[in-house]
Amino acid sequence: MVEPVATSGGISPCCYQHAVTADAIFCGECGKPLLRCMAHEECGGLVGDDGCCNVCVRPQLYLDKDAVTEVKTGGVLVLPLVFYNASGVGRPLFITDVWVREGEGARRRIELPWKRLDAGGSNRLNVQTGALERQGRHGIEITFAAATNYFMREERFCFTSSLSLEVEQGGSLVINQTINSSGIGAGSDTVYAPIRLETQGETRKAAVGGKAAELGLQRADNFEAAQGIRGYTEGPLKGVVVSRGARIVWKGFGPDEAPSGPITTRDGIFAMGRGRSVRFGGDNQIQLLVTDTSGAIDEALSQAISRRHLELFIQSGRLCARVTGQSGVMIGDHKYGADDALAVIGNGDVIRLLPKYPDALTLQVRMRANYGSVEEITITRAPPMPASAVSDGAPR
């Protein structure tokens, strides 16, 4: 029996077992919140704090067969790369960017003629190095960004792999490949194929040829934040990434109405609006009604709030919102409607749920970042609901 592999997000097998229960929010074994992939309906996968689903996002990078295996000083190496989507559940990947870095030099962005990578499919890309003038060990770093889409949402991740080449004067470079099995694509038995590069004193052909060699991949989280692929790209939170498991603290609501914690819904969306909350058989996680200071509901203004008015979710390391209400929502200084793209919510932004009545009902967002990661988001309702108005907990 093959044990489930512990993923990078530290997801235990017990979590997968309990995630099978549709309405389970926490793992019954370890007590951790179950953070489902946005495409959980298709993949059944869980994500860690980095938001990466190992079922959906499973790229592999190979050095193609018949690759040039010899390089002398002053020579140029062409690396025929093969990108392979190893997702077993038919989820496509989108390779959006590829960068190559030689040694300590700057990264070069490679133009990609293709983008989509279907599950089980592979695409090829030739990457050429500069002239390897210096004798000695040369490091080549290949980094690429892969995106996975589900309906109107997209998560992007960067992966990196590095090669180390030894270039000798008059010598030659030989790639010794050990292929345990073969066959890239078509869902056959593709397995590990380590590559080892070494120099030989005399010119020699590759010991094993005709096989592709897999290059080990690592998540480039630092690069993601630096390039703005994940996390915020401007403002005081520039370079800061919101953790997928960030705890959202709701203030100004009743304690039972909005329990603090990460977003643990099946689709990872935290919905709010005039409609009833899930506790009372509705679809929203939080019910939003306009009240006065005494807690009395202003029915006229509350009617202006749509049943499902706003959806919050964490995407690519940013707290995002999609406006579904007819009257739109003011976030910061911009008004967003149902036809607009996603809105990125930053630290200190005020969400005015009724733009025509800006102070009728607002949500202020505060984030606390520690070491480049936001672990807690505080959303404060204004005006706050008086304790007496929420004590009954009954649907309104």
Binding site: V5, Y192, P259
Partner: protein, 613 residues
């Protein structure tokens, strides 16, 4: 019936009322209004009709009878001149550079044909309106608002021919007129200002005239100067002196006057001669230049040729001397060598000849001695002599041979000696070089000193680090290989699995169990969604029952599992509808959220509350 023309009574009039007394008559009267005038019929204080280029009838008995019956009617006619008229007046305005500019404003005014009755508003006492009065109404308003305002934007030298300025003033004036008298039936057709010459323009004109005069004078001066120069270059006077040459000496002005006035001296115009002289001088000058140039060129050629010749000669001479010296040296060397060889050969031949001669003599002596011995046998004393001679002869032969050998050795010794001397010199040189090399090496080692030691240590340290890094890399590669192997195994399985099987494997079940569960789900589900929901339930149940083999999975379905799944499949129920608790399984209720959890659960799957430790 006679028709009377209704026009203004005076050309200076713009509009004029014709009162009712004009139209009082017994008989009907006909009036006509020419096309350039407008007749406005006013009856009982109201304008009732306008006539332009038409005629009309008033009065008469019938109307008077009608007036008697129906009451009298007051009729009057306003006659207005529709032609444009011009008004001239002078304005003085200050320009941007504070120069007073005087101009004559020309205004083309006209009664507005669209609303001529409004001109009534400009009339005093409703009698008449002169053109001058109408223009005067605009004049004072236009002064400051238009002319001063427009001229204050330009300099005094920019007003002349400034079409933009004129357009601006016309537009402003039209606007002002429209504002002032627009509703009074007066309109401006055109306006322009004819500016008088201002001070700045006068100054500029004077300056331009002065410049032109200066240019003219300059041109005349240049022309005269050129004529004078030409005259000077070509004119030669010839003096014929009738007196003695001593009288030609001029010491002062008196002498000069005497010389000229006494007519002793004649000045003849020798212009032709002078011209020829000038040409001759020019020619002579040219000849001189050509001569000098050719001479210089010739000298240069000669110098160059001499220089080249000397160089070649010297070089060739030196070459020849060197070649000659070389040849002489070679020849002397060859001669010396041949002399030496000849000497050597001669000495050798002499030695050989001496040896052969000695041998022959020895043989001859031997034969002689043999003969003498044969003869001396007979004589005793001759025997002693023979012995004595033989001893003497042997002694001589040995002595001679020793001498020859000694001489040969001496010659060889001379050669060897010289060779040894050369060898010694070479060896000494080699030894000196070796010592030098040794000294250099020692000095280099000293120079390397501590730096060399440090470099060696650094190299060793780097080598050690490289070895450590290689070892770490190998360990890392092994680890990755292991991980990748596990991942690859998963992939091998995953590639062949369906999403349902992957769901089961991710949940910790074996591939065999996952396959069984999928088969069951396919068999019992009505569609794809229900199949996935069923699969989730089955995986949950299998996990709970700790199903780890194919047999256990089949046994599970044969027992109680089938019922629940069948109900779920038939009803199309949602996955997880039963809170993940199998029927008959021990449960525990969460004290916080009251959710029912399996008794073995450590945490509530609904709120995360810890249920047991």
């Amino acid at each position: 019936m006679k028709t009377e023309q209704l026009i203004v009574s005076d050309p200076r009039m713009l509009a004029e009322f014709i009162g009712p007394e004009t139209f009082k008559a017994v008989f009907e009267a006909r009036y006509e209004v020419p096309p350039d005038h407008l007749g406005l019929l006013m009856r009982n204080g109201q304008f009732v009709e306008a006539y332009k280029g038409a005629h009309f009838s008033v009065g008469g008995l019938f109307n008077q009878m009608k007036g008697l019956i129906g009451g009298s009617t007051s009729i009057s006619v306003l006659i207005a001149d529709l032609k444009t008229f011009q008004s001239f007046y002078d304005v003085v305005a200050t320009t941007k550079d504070k120069v007073d500019v005087t101009g004559t404003v020309v205004l083309d005014l006209q009664i507005n044909p669209e609303k001529p009755q409004n001109i009534l508003g400009m009339m005093q006492q409703r009698r008449s309106l002169t053109k001058e009065d109408a223009a005067a109404r605009i004049r004072s308003h236009g002064w400051e608002r238009v002319f001063e305002a427009a001229l204050s934007r330009v300099n005094a030298n920019e007003v002349r021919g400034n079409k933009g300025l004129q357009d601006m003033m016309q537009a402003d004036l039209m606007k002002e007129c429209e504002r002032i008298a627009g509703d009074l039936g007066l309109m401006v057709r055109a306006a322009s200002v004819n500016f008088a010459v201002n001070e700045v323009e006068k100054q500029e004109a004077a300056r331009a005239a002065a410049i032109r005069e200066t240019d003219r004078l300059e041109f005349e001066f240049v022309t005269l100067k050129r004529d004078l120069e030409r005259e000077h270059e070509t004119t030669v006077f010839k003096m014929n002196n009738k007196t003695g040459i001593d009288k030609l000496s001029v010491n002062n002005l008196e002498d000069l006057r005497r010389l000229v006035l006494d007519r002793d001296t004649e000045f003849n115009d020798a212009r032709e001669t002078g011209l020829r002289i000038a040409e001759m001088k020019q020619m002579s000058h040219d000849i001189g230049k050509v001569k000098a140039a050719q001479l210089a060129k010739l000298e240069g050629d000669i110098r160059q040729a001499t220089h080249d010749g000397v160089d070649l000669k010297v070089v060739n001479e030196r070459k020849r001397v060197i070649e000659r010296n070389t040849e002489e040296l070679d020849r002397s060397h060859q001669l010396a060598l041949r002399a030496l060889e000849r000497d050597y050969d001669r000495e050798t031949r002499e030695l050989q000849r001496d040896e052969r001669r000695d041998d022959r003599e020895f043989d001859r002596e031997g034969r002689k001695l043999d003969r003498v011995e044969q003869r001396g046998n007979r004589l005793e004393d001759r025997e002693d002599m023979k012995v004595q001679r033989r001893e003497d002869r042997d002694y001589d032969h040995e002595t001679r041979e020793r001498e020859l050998r000694t001489r040969e050795k001496e010659r060889d010794f001379g050669f060897d000696g010289r060779k040894k001397e050369v060898d010694v010199v070479d060896k000494e040189e080699y030894a000196r070089l070796a010592r030098q090399r040794e000294t250099d090496k020692v000095a280099l080692d000293k120079l390397k000193g501590l730096a060399g030691l440090e470099a060696e240590q650094e190299r060793e340290r780097l080598t050690r680090r490289i070895r450590e890094a290689d070892a770490a890399h190998d360990r890392d590669m092994d680890q990755r290989k292991l991980e990748a192997q596990r991942e690859a195994d998963r992939l091998v399985l995953g590639a062949k699995m369906t999403p349902e099987q992957i769901l089961a494997v991710n949940a910790g079940l074996s591939p065999a169990v996952a396959k069984i569960l999928e088969e069951q789900a396919k068999a019992q589900a009505i569609d794809k969604n229900a199949q996935m929901d069923l699969m989730r339930q089955m995986v949950e149940q299998a996990n709970r029952a700790r199903v780890s083999s194919e047999e256990q999975a089949r046994a599970m379905f044969n027992s109680g599992m089938q019922g629940a799944v069948g109900v779920a499949a038939g009803a199309g129920g949602k996955a997880g509808a039963g809170n993940g608790v199998a029927p008959g399984e021990a449960t525990v209720e969460c004290p916080k959220c009251t959710r029912v959890n399996p008794a073995k659960a450590k945490f509530c799957v609904g709120c995360g509350e810890q249920l047991r430790r």
